[in-house]
Amino acid sequence: MSVAIRVIPCLDVDAGRVVKGINFADLRDAGDPVELAHRYDRAGADELTFLDVTASSGERDTTFDVVARTAEEVFIPLTVGGGVRSLADVGQLLRCGADKASINTAAVNHPPVIDEITSHFGGQVLVLSLDARRAPAGLTRSGFEVTTHGGRKGTGIDAVAWAAEAADRGVGEILLNSIDADGTKDGFDLEMIRAIRAAVRVPLIASGGAGVPAHFPEAVAAGADAVLAASIFHFGPDHALADVKNAIAAAGYPVRHGP
């Protein structure tokens, strides 16, 4: 037997509320992250990710409160990303009850922050969130480029080289989000997953492009250890999570069957 392929729903949280509407049939409050976390836990989610999209720093305390209330009630791992810039930010999230923090732009701008965080808390608490896209010909060696600002800004940095550097600096896993595939529902960017997989030994979470359950085992075959998605779970039927796990299992990969 071996470790199960993790299926991870991602919730965008703004000032303590889930931003995108969610389609669960009998939710009392579709905007409450804690209630949604409960629902996904019961539906068999292997982990949860909150992406804090709160624009105003004054309202970030509500995020910490949401994290704390979730961690008190839902007993699966919780990752929080969005606005994580420093060792102090990670420390605060962990104290609130997060198990992992994901870092994106701050690490691109100042890579040593990875060493600083992982030497203090261990690599297992830090996820590198890597937003990558296909680069114009000749710009990067691998053909993939790191972006920031949700994919709006190219950096010219080679995405494969950056993944390898971040792993060397100590991140515990990499969340690879394909900016090109994101929102298309045409499937994951398998070529990009293969390229990053070949460069790192840390677990790889694939994200971006999932439209139907059959897309997920393709990402696993390309080298993903975990898959993360939002809309297919939020706007799909209540059994979307089970459907995704069944598709992965049918392709011969181990999954954890939910409660």
Binding site: M1, V3, D46, F75, R95, R201, R256
Partner: protein, 217 residues
Amino acid sequence: MNRQTHQSRPSVAVLDYGSGNVHSAVRALERAGADVELTAEHDAVLQAAGLVVPGVGAFAAVMRGLQAADGLRLIGRRIAGGRPVLGICVGLQVLFEGSTEHESTEPGMAEWPGTVERLPSEVVPHMGWNTVRAAEGSRLFEGIEDERFYFVHSYAVQQWEFDVNQPRMEAPQVTWAEHGVPFIAAVENGALSATQFHPEKSGDAGAALLANWVKSL
């Protein structure tokens, strides 16, 4: 058993020595039926019916943290007195003799023989839900032998070196898991138990395991 005893919740101290996220452990133990206190206060740690030793981060850092909080002596006193202790994750690892993590020279508590070594697996850390091969007659895994538990670690004890011919000692029960190679997922040794995975993050299966432990207090 009188009614009063039957209804009371066993007291559990979660050792507070600055180890990462311990809220989940506290809440999960409460849900498992314990009266939980997060503390490093000597009397509370020694007098609780059960002591939980969480552990997140590097082996040497955890040992130093335990040392600074006088945790090593408190754990040792409980073990000597046959008082229940449950180690979690690095809280399991420090019960062995040592670790090769970052060329650590910090010795472990050496309750059990063996060294914690880096997993030679294809993908490390070992992160996620894995199955275990529960020890025969295990109390911790009673009723949940076939469930998956949440692991996150890069180092593990890959050989059980306990001398079964050691006189006057009952052999501990060892539960194994596999990530490329077999490694120790849990040990039950009289009042001293430990898990490499995180029961407090392992959903219903983890809750059942913690309830089995709390019930034994």
